[in-house]
Symmetry: C2
Subunit: 199 residues, 2 copies
DNA sequence: CCCTTAGTTGATCGCTCGTCCAAGTAGTAT
DNA sequence: ATACTACTTGGACGAGCGATCAACTAAGGG
């Protein structure tokens, strides 16, 4: 019983996610969120609690969708090296065409908030750990398939995490596709076996 | 004639630089700056104009000192590869011990402000271009000395820029020295000739 | 058909922000 | 000494922030 919601909570959360993603936490006012979500302040607080809780919800949504989808490419590919190539190819695409031209919500928020919010800092670290683990898995499979040069392997995962974070930063300067592609290609070239098996 | 300044402007600018570096632009209030610099708001506005101008001055100071000093290592070294090693070694040191545990002022500010301040965005791009050019120079010298694997060269400069930006992000999560060192080592290992000439 | 309940509305609160300015103070020049 | 000038002081201003709440509205149950 009682009045039913006039808006879709998940849809509104998606709008809030995009707004935080574009502008950052501090620079996004409740008023701006209300305008973007097309609801009133009272409804925001009734549905999400407060600004910080709304942000955390948006961050979780990001991790469960945008981020999980990207990592999935690493595991789905037929080979470790192909998974890495797929991952970076779609990263570059999204940075040129899609929402990743705003960078990465985790990277942006980490830079802005890690120093003053330990709870968020823990979420960011866990996110990076997941990424690192997925890279390590793909590298292990690539190594087993003889796709890597001597010395490269799962221990190269931290480098790939750093490269992705760096690309997330550079994406905000709207570099051309060529620049982003060159970064991804150079990174993988430094890991790959000198003489590819098939291609 | 007239009353003389009771504080050193450059010294105060240095304090403001550190404050912006630690907390970011928005999160640093004039009040906080006044407390850190140990002067009153009126003196800040008399000496620097306004918050934005003070920030730009701090950014220029950063580029002229912290950043220039780092890039200098690339050019001073006896060989290209040694320059790169020096650069990353000191980067890692400063991220573990020094002020770079706050990341990089340019990286932090780029993530926070690029989308809403075109003038600052131009400064950030120029900064990245300088870094890229310096890397390219070191890589060219390394290539001439036969220190690089086939395929690596000045065209790998964008990758190194991305790696540094990524490390700047990761520095904020206070990773151990081992992690940072591993990233730097992996990046250079991917560029170096398989069989080193001397060592 | 009305009572209960849940959601919406939009004005409003206290607070902090960046900025300003009148009054006070410490130097120099004559 | 006195006039002049530059800098410092610290309270005050309007604006915008995150958050609240009483009044209103719409849905279901008896």
């Amino acid at each position: 019983m009682g009045r039913t919601r006039t808006f879709d909570v998940d849809e509104a959360l998606g709008v809030a996610l995009d707004t935080f993603w574009q502008r950052g936490y501090d620079a996004t006012s409740i008023q701006a969120l209300c305008q973007a979500m097309d609801i009133q302040p009272g409804s925001v607080y009734a549905a999400f609690g407060n600004k910080h809780a709304l942000f955390v919800a948006a961050l979780r949504s990001y991790a469960a969708t945008v981020s999980a989808e990207a990592v999935e490419r690493l595991n789905v590919a037929p080979s470790g090296m192909q998974g890495l190539r797929d991952y970076f190819a779609h990263l570059v695409d999204a940075m040129v065409d899609g929402r990743r031209r705003w960078g990465c919500l985790v990277t942006n928020s980490l830079v802005e908030l890690t120093d003053r919010d330990p709870a968020l800092a823990a979420m960011f670290e866990q996110h990076l750990a997941t990424l690192r683990t997925s890279f390590a898995g793909a590298l292990t499979r690539a190594r087993a398939a003889g796709e890597l040069r001597a010395g490269a392997g799962p221990e190269s995962a931290p480098l790939l995490v750093a490269v992705v974070q760096g690309m997330n930063v550079l994406a905000k300067t709207t570099p051309g596709r060529a620049t982003l592609q060159s970064i991804a290609d150079s990174a993988l070239a430094g890991l790959a076996a000198e003489a590819p098996a098939s291609v």
